[in-house]
């Protein structure tokens, strides 16, 4: 990239946005056009992932894969980013990916995009599925209705992509214009004089603003002074007075009428259902009984892949054999030879050394776990199972003031709480995101910890495992229910699209996993190094020993554990399973009796998550929320642990 070459910089600053419903094959088209050169990064000011990649066939233009969106104004944090891309990025063209077999639904979005006036191409993807159902669309006529090119494709086999590239190259601004009711037209004429220059037409910006779209409101606030913005609000308010219904509904009705008209004219054949056998897997996954069995099988497979294969086999190879066996002794030796200051040697390769703890943990312990986790997650994402899981588990989350969509972060939390905190952004309201983050931090053990916990408990008895499980689930339900009562705001009902189950495309999963791993290396490893440095400072200054000593009355008196256990709790904050591992060593030395093991495991599970996830919570939400969550969890974990200790001793469990 040579900034001195104006032609090249001109191309590089102009992106092509891929917009469309979720699960219509945006990422497949994206991957087909860009190949391997992709970067995943957070959209500025948000934590939503945006994938960008250079498309060689489009003269090096940057392709932007946006989160799936159904309509504007959108709801979740994810969807809002799509509007921001359209409003803020300098775009050369917009490519809407639509589902050929669900034409009417796709067209509602097309109409809104065409109104924006950016050069637009509509892709009717998954033509193979449409053909199998006998859906026939007259796409030449449709192109006339929408004043933009319409390209039928089968992205998965690469069919129609050359035509798409040609269409994007020659795409022009659509001269699409819907006529709204006279009141709205008058108001649009009035605001168009006051609106600042924007990438989209002032007409569509005005309509977005009238519909109450939060992103356009923020954008207008940034680009206008307070007086001008108030004038716009005044116009919107006056306009609302002329309708009984909300403006959004009025505007949407005009669009829907047009979509209906266009669909009626261009749908040559509606098609029929593909006959399925009595045991249609798609339906079974949402069935109240069979769905549970399938869920158990899927969870089991993921836990095996991430928990046993990733956290067990791979970690063993990397940590025990590669790092502790070969690399670390060599590095320690080299550092001790080269670096003259003992303090610096300790800082690099001591007990809490940057290399021996920070880098070793990041690469030998966590790297294999997140790799298997990202792979499993990628397969799940692309298979279309996740929305079905949300539908199935809706009732369980209802009690906690959430809806079924919360199942995603919760299940992923069993893999890694830090990663799962990220996925809370698929939820629609801030209230739900906070609730899920709290429950994740409190009651969901990560795979690394779960392995150690289950190993210790099953060594005692099945009863011990059950006591632990019941207590943790009860605490989660109670805290969830209480928090739902306290947090302001309404619970939002579940509404989710159920895509057909598909076999994921391997190359797509691999590319996604690699891009996510790159992100992990860039963003999470520094956290590990900082965490290790903090521990090093605590250890050197004697604060760590002080903290362990200060915790003794709590651990020994209230929880009834040996005093040495308090060190495990401090370590547990650095890494969740680390605390459990410390206790594991104590159990194998015969220092803990069954009651103490159950109490310790319950407390460690409920205890504050590792430092990486706390940092992630702070980054995703705010520092205040992270602090609040710690303040709630810390006493609660010890309270529950102490009560359980008293209860178990009282009923005389494990005495014999």
């Amino acid at each position: 990239m040579h900034p001195s070459n104006p032609a090249q910089t001109g191309v590089l600053t102009h992106g092509i946005a891929l917009v469309g419903h979720p699960n219509v094959g945006k990422s497949v088209i994206f991957q087909r056009l860009t190949g391997q050169h992709v970067t995943i990064s957070n959209y500025p000011g948000t934590t939503v992932e945006i994938t960008r990649g250079m498309a060689p066939s489009l003269e090096g233009a940057i392709l932007i894969d946006t989160p799936g969106v159904f309509t504007f104004p959108s709801q979740s944090e994810d969807e809002l980013v799509t509007t921001r891309v359209l409003l803020n990025e300098p775009l050369q063209a917009v490519v809407q990916v639509g589902d050929a077999k669900n034409l009417r639904r796709s067209l509602l979005l097309t109409v809104q995009l065409a109104e924006m006036g950016l050069p637009l191409v509509l892709v009717l993807n998954m033509m193979d599925e449409a053909n199998a159902r006998g859906v026939v669309v007259n796409h030449q006529l449709l192109a006339e209705y929408l004043t933009c090119p319409v390209v039928p494709t089968i992205a998965i086999s690469g069919q129609g992509l050359n035509e798409l590239v040609e269409a994007v190259k020659s795409a022009d601004h659509p001269h699409f214009r819907l006529t709204y009711s006279p009141e709205i037209e008058a108001a649009l004429a009035e605001v168009s004089l006051r609106l600042p220059e924007a990438p989209i037409t002032s007409r569509s910006l005005g309509l977005l603003f009238f519909s109450g779209d939060p992103v356009s409101e923020t954008w207008l606030r940034e680009h206008l002074d307070q007086r001008q913005f108030d004038e716009l609000c005044e116009i919107r308010h006056t306009l609302q007075l002329s309708f009984v219904e909300q403006l959004l509904s009025v505007i949407q009705r005009t669009r829907l009428d047009y979509v209906q008209k266009a669909a009626k004219a261009t749908l040559v054949s509606l098609g029929a259902d593909v006959k399925k056998g009595p045991f249609d897997l798609g339906h079974l996954t949402t069935h109240p009984v069979w769905g549970m069995f399938i869920l158990a099988a899927v969870l089991g497979a993921i836990l095996w892949f991430v928990g046993i294969f990733g956290a067990g086999v791979l970690v063993n190879i990397l940590e025990e054999q590669l790092f502790y066996g070969i690399i670390n002794p060599w590095v320690i030796d080299q550092v001790a030879r080269v670096v003259p200051f003992p303090l610096l040697v300790d800082f690099l390769v001591g007990d809490y050394g940057q290399w021996t703890m920070g880098i070793t943990y990041a690469f030998a312990l966590v790297f294999p776990i997140v790799t298997t986790f990202f792979l499993a997650f990628g397969v799940l994402e692309d298979s279309g199972y996740l929305p079905r899981l949300a539908a199935l588990s809706n009732r369980f989350f209802h009690a906690m003031g959430l809806n079924g969509k919360a199942v995603l972060p919760m299940v992923l939390g069993l893999g890694c709480v830090t990663m799962a905190t990220l996925t809370a952004r698929v939820l629609e309201s801030k209230r739900e995101r906070i609730l899920v983050t709290l429950l994740l931090a409190l009651a969901v053990p990560c795979s690394a910890q779960l392995g150690v916990v289950l190993g210790m408990l099953s060594a005692i008895s099945l009863q011990a495992t059950l006591i632990w499980g019941v207590v943790v689930v009860l605490v989660m339900l109670t805290v969830g229910w209480l928090a739902a009562q306290i947090l302001p705001g309404e619970r939002s009902s579940l509404l989710v699209d159920l895509p057909p189950l598909r076999l994921p495309l391997l190359s797509n999963v691999v590319v996604k996993t690699l891009a996510r791993l790159e992100w992990y290396l860039k963003e999470v490893i520094p956290l590990f190094l900082i965490g290790t440095a903090v521990m090093f400072v605590l250890d050197e200054t004697g604060l760590l020993a002080g903290l362990i000593h200060a915790g003794e009355p709590l651990v020994a008196g209230w929880l009834g554990l040996p005093p040495e256990a308090s060190a495990a709790f401090i370590m547990g904050f650095l890494r969740r399973d680390f605390g459990a591992s410390g206790l594991f060593v104590m159990q194998s030395q015969g220092l803990l009796n069954p009651v103490q093991v159950v109490v310790a495991m319950t407390t460690v599970t409920l205890f504050v998550p590792c430092i990486a996830s706390v940092l992630m919570i702070a980054k995703e939400r705010t520092w205040q929320i992270a602090a609040g969550i710690i303040v709630i969890i810390f006493p609660l974990a010890f309270l529950i642990g102490g009560l359980l200790n008293r209860l178990l001793l009282f009923i005389g469990w494990g005495a014999s």
């Binding site: 309509t71 639904r105 109450g212 219904e245 959004l248 209906q260 509606l270 249609d280 079974l284 579940l494």
Partner: protein
Amino acid sequence: MTTFMSCSLCGHSFNPAEEPGCATCPLHSGCNLVCCPACGYKTVDANRSWLAKVASSFLPGAYFSEDGGLPEKRGHRFPRFFRRRGRHRRWHHLMHDRHGAGAHLPLTLLDVPPGYQVKIEGFAPDISPNRKSQLQAYGLVPGYWVEVLQQSPVTVIKIEHSEVAMENDLAFLVWVTERGSGQADV
């Protein structure tokens, strides 16, 4: 409702309810079997078995044979006792029902038993505009036909060639009408 079944031995098609053979049989009471009028082979009439009906709700798609058992669902008015109501409003409507006054209440998506097709009429007035626009974006547009696939644990409907799951409370806010005569609108 005429439900025919075919004999698994000779293939003769007959209506088990109309067969006179059972009425004259001394073992008729409590019997789930029906004899083929052509060959006399005894077959199970699943419609007479309580257990078979309960089990069928666990076996999706495996509702007895095509021509025996449950009525053909599509294209018929569905039975009213299927009426279900939203979580918060159940009591309210029971009160209406007690006075026999619930009949005028609008039929909602939640009242439709799985397997039936209905036409979207509109939305309850208390639905939030954002929710309404979202539902419309998913394809629940007045005038469109949808098929209800399941009601538990959530309402799943089929619109065009896609499936949408929504909570029962949300389905309660969608007003529908039953299929009368005529074909689905395009």
